[in-house]
Point group: C2
Chain length 109, copies 2
C-alpha cells in the first residue's frame, strides 16, 4: 500500500495521539473521551489501549508520569515533540486513504 499497511487499524494510535495533543490524559479518560466524541462509535477496550500506550511510549511518542487525582494515583500520558510529528504524518495518511475510499465508492454506477 502507498498508505502504510497499518494506517487503517493504526488509526487508533492516531486518535490517541490527537487527544493527547490537546491535553495530558490517563488511560481510562481516553476511552471515555473517545466514546463521547465519536457518539459511541469508538468503544475502545482497555485490553487494546494499554498495550498500545506502552508501545507508543517505547517509540518515544509519549511520556508518562504518575499523579494523584481524587485520591488515586493515575498514570498520565503526555505527547512528545516526536509524537506530534508522528500525529501530523498519520493525519495526512488518513486523509489520503479516506479520500481514496470515497473516490472508489462514488464512481461508476
Amino acid at each position: 500500500m502507498a498508505v502504510e499497511r497499518n494506517l487503517i487499524s493504526g488509526s487508533l494510535a492516531m486518535l490517541v495521539l490527537k487527544l493527547l495533543s490537546e491535553r495530558d490524559m490517563y488511560g481510562y479518560e481516553m476511552i471515555e473521551t473517545l466514546r463521547a466524541r465519536s457518539q459511541n462509535v469508538f468503544e475502545l477496550k482497555a485490553g487494546t489501549l494499554y498495550p498500545l500506550l506502552h508501545g507508543l511510549e517505547d517509540k518515544g511518542l509519549l511520556d508518562v508520569y504518575e499523579q494523584e487525582s481524587a485520591g488515586k494515583i493515575r498514570k498520565y500520558y503526555s505527547i512528545t515533540k516526536q509524537g506530534r510529528g508522528h500525529l501530523e504524518k498519520k493525519k495526512k495518511e488518513w486523509k489520503e486513504y479516506a479520500d481514496a475510499v470515497s473516490q472508489v465508492l462514488a464512481m461508476g454506477v
Copy 2:
C-alpha cells in the same frame, strides 16, 4: 467497537464488492482498477486479493465462472444478491467510522 472490528481493514472487501456491483471482473482487473481509481493509493497485492475472493465466495457473496478472453481462460467474479446487501451494510459502516474519525480529529485545539 460499535463499528465491527474488521470494518477498517475490511474496507478492502467492501471496495472489491463495489467494483463487482458495477460489472463482473477477474482478479487482476480488480487490482488494476482499484489502483487507477484511487490514484495509486491502493496497491492491492495478489497475495491479498485471491484469498479474499475465495473467502467472499465461501460466504456466498460472490459467484465465479470461467470465460475465455483474449485467448486466456479467466476467472470472472460476479456479485450475488447477498453480496449487494453486504456491500450496502459495509458502506454505511464505513461512513459511520470515517465521520467519527473526522469528528475526533476536528475537535479541540
